[in-house]
């Protein structure tokens, strides 16, 4: 199952770096270019690279579809709850954590947490779509 040894080796080398770059882009979305969407797509792309190189059966134990679905729901719930917390400080979507020093993790206040939520949601969404295509193909080829 999977591709040749060269592709597997390159994928093993590339996946941690790509995933780390995605997490960096998510966490620094309010300081540098990027944000939840771009970083989330990068994280999902690194996982998809792993699945493409090693085949669906070898990575199924660690990152299966149910975990991705839970992460997707978690991202949306996190976004909602951060937005709802604003109600205690005035209004829905109130930015109650903001500080006026630039290039700091909390310099954008709530924006960092929205970014993390969007990043989790987008990466899980792309990965779920990809893996359900694979599973559907497997189910249709085995018959039943």
């Amino acid at each position: 199952m999977g591709m040749t040894a060269i592709v597997k080796r390159i994928a093993m080398l590339m996946t941690p770096a790509t995933c780390l770059l995605g997490v960096y882009i998510i966490l620094h979305g309010h300081v540098t270019p990027g944000g939840g969407f771009a970083g989330g797509i990068l994280v999902a792309g690194s996982l998809i690279l792993l699945v493409l190189a090693f085949g669906i059966s070898s990575v199924k134990q660690e990152i299966n579809q149910n975990n991705a679905k839970i992460a997707l729901s978690l991202g949306l719930i996190l976004f909602w709850s951060v937005a709802f917390m604003g109600l205690f400080h005035g209004s829905f979507f109130q930015n109650y954590l903001k500080s006026h020093s630039a290039s700091h993790f909390l310099s954008g206040g709530n924006i960092a947490f929205y970014d993390i939520a969007i990043g989790i949601g987008v990466s899980a969404a792309l990965f779920t779509i990809f893996i359900s295509f694979l599973i559907a193909k497997k189910e249709s080829s085995t018959g039943s």
Binding site: I25, G29, H30, V31, T32, P33, G34, G35, G36, F37, A38, I41, L42, G45, I48, Q65, K69, L72, S73, G75, L76, F79, W80, A83, F93, N95, K98, S99, H100, S101, A102, S103, S107, G108, G109, N110, I111, Y114, D115, A117, I118, G121, V122, A125, T128, I129, S132, F133, I135, A136, E139, S144
Partner: protein
């Protein structure tokens, strides 16, 4: 910079024409890739790295999926155009081109001079930083000024994934 932009746009137009006219579906898809990657370089030249990151990853994923689909099915473009419809196609094409040119001239006349936006954008960045504290104004607009939009977008993403899983998976079906 203007010359680079014009060269890239001409390359994109050529890629689109080749993608339309080619009888081999694989080369049509590769010409589609030219459009997407040239668009990535245009985003970088116009200093929009946010869009460039998303565009290059989405373009690569889409190309992989399309090439896999072509390799699994057929490589020849088998669509035939009926002779009587060709006249209608030409007429509607010319009418559309005229409307497009008319509205493009109106739209481009109302745009400011190329490169004249610099000071206005700098002022917008300063105002945005004072109001939100985020030094990346794009993220500040997406997640603070237009937070409801992003909430709706995340909900649409969730719904689409639920739809894909419902359509594709056999696990929950009754029969």
């Amino acid at each position: 910079m203007m010359i680079v932009l014009i060269a890239l746009i001409v390359l994109m137009i050529l890629g689109a024409i080749v993608a339309l006219e080619s009888r081999d579906l694989l080369s049509a898809i590769i010409s589609l890739g030219i459009i997407g990657f040239a668009l990535t370089i245009i985003f970088l030249v116009l200093s929009a790295p946010d869009l460039a990151i998303v565009q290059i990853i989405i373009e690569t994923l889409t190309l992989i999926i399309l090439i896999a689909a072509v390799l699994k099915t057929t490589r020849a473009d088998t669509s035939e155009t009926v002779n009587a419809r060709v006249v209608m196609l030409w007429i509607s094409g010319i009418i559309f081109m005229g409307l497009f040119l008319l509205s493009a001239v109106r739209a481009f006349q109302s745009l400011p001079e190329f490169g004249a936006l610099g000071l206005r954008m700098a002022q917008a960045y300063l105002d945005g930083f004072r109001q939100t504290g985020a030094s990346n104004l794009v993220t500040a607009v997406i997640l603070d000024f237009r937070g409801y939009d992003t909430l709706g977008e995340a909900t649409v993403l969730f719904t689409s994934v639920a739809g894909v899983v419902t359509v594709l998976r056999k696990a929950g079906r009754k029969d």
